[in-house]
Amino acid sequence: MATLSDDVFFAGVAEINRRLRAREFSCVELVRAFSNRLEKLGPRYNALALSLREHAIRKAKSVDDELKRGRTRSAVQGIPFGAKDLLSVAGQITTWGAKPYAAQIFDHDATVIKKLDRAGAVLIGKLSMVELAGGGGYRYASASLQGPGLNPWNRGYWSGGSSSGSGSAVAAGLVAFALGSETWGSILTPSAFCGVTGLRPTYGLVSRFGAMPLSWTLDKIGPMCRTAEDCGLVLHVISGGDSNDPGSAGKSFYFMPQYSRPLQDLRVGFAEVDFTEWAAPEARKDFQAALETVRSLGVSLIPVELPDRPYSLITGTIINAEAASVFESLIRSGKVDELADERQIAGLKAALELKSTDYLKAMRIRRLVQEDMRKMFAKVDLLISPTRFGPASKITEALDRSSAPSPPPRRRGLRDLGAFGNLCGLPALSLPCGFANGLPIALSVVGRPYSENAVLALGMAFQKVTDWHRRRPPV
């Protein structure tokens, strides 16, 4: 039996696939090695919700048979991955990170799980998450059935959420890639805090069928990987229309980096104030260096600013209204009291007080935000900004306290890019770009709808000239 070196746990999807096809190791050996690592180290970061070792080894055997017969399926064939525990796997427990659903079993696979299976990827485990993906608003990192997500770079710090386990597991080399989800920040934040590369696709590009709903008009599923290239390879497999998903755009994504526009043709919007005054002081040096790296790629950097709108108020209202409807029976039955986080419980209960006119008002303002977006992307092709303005917070810190500088900067820059991007369903890529106090920080690249190839092209170019994405935590 081949002994796998540690390198393989931190290798990209394409490299692992190439080594599998070259028979450096079998898929069974690869899957056993990753499963061992996930089971042994996953609990260290509270990253593992459920090991699927037996299921994975059966799948790995069939992959080995296919490879022996020369049957190749995709770039993710044979690659061990993890899935956020809001994605259903037939016959297996899917907890949604929440005590009331601790024994929940579905009889069907989520569409994304099915697609990856058909492409030959090997699901080795379900990864932990913030309970109910944070619907209701949580105060502490401990808002999870599996406990607080711990950051592999320093376990005294949060991995970020709500895709906490996905972020930790990729960072620590426990899976080659993971699936996460984002309603408002839940792919990008753990990607940034854990130093991995995460892609939030355009709303509707990836089927939500089989995923726990939190906010129907905001939920998106996306890859969390070691590189931008890997994100492209995984998105290529999981994207596409699905009649089971009412929000499906019916569009496909073909990862075509060879056909991307030359970088010199790209206009990239940015706000200086994001990299100076909004950024946490300990992160400014690396953020500013990242901005210069982007400039050095030959793109045109154009100063921009978001229009003045109450983005957080609108996004929060929409999520609260939709989540209250999704979880109405949980709330009214009182089972909501079984959740771990008091603020989240209160938030879900209070959300039942929201008026329909408030929701509709927020959705109408959202239409105006979408018009702003169209005007913005007439001037630029992409936007860049720090994913989060500072590194991860301590595990014990309250998350509902503002970390904004006091007094706040006079210019708003792209400070609300997270809310703006999610309201408009825009694709976004979080790229590791440095460290602050020993913890990763990241840059976000955001594009217009369905511009994932352009977003990924800039990401890949950035990662060609930097090595932040290759750094490994002290596991």
Partner: protein, 57 residues
């Protein structure tokens, strides 16, 4: 003796029950919902602006 008696005097029971932390949390969040509702009502939106529903038939 009088001092001891005074020290042992039990304060009168409060008439209203004290709120627990979860009840305080809930009250605060409900207050927040109402405050946000007021903020939303103050925002002018052109009468022809429709909600940005994503679903299509």
């Amino acid at each position: 003796m009088a001092a001891l008696l005074a020290a042992r005097a039990v304060p009168a029971k409060s008439v209203t029950a004290e709120k627990t932390a979860p009840e305080e949390d809930l009250a605060r969040r409900v207050e927040q919902v109402h405050a946000e509702s007021k903020k939303l009502s103050e925002i002018e939106v052109p009468i022809t602006t429709e909600p940005a529903f994503q679903f299509r038939a």
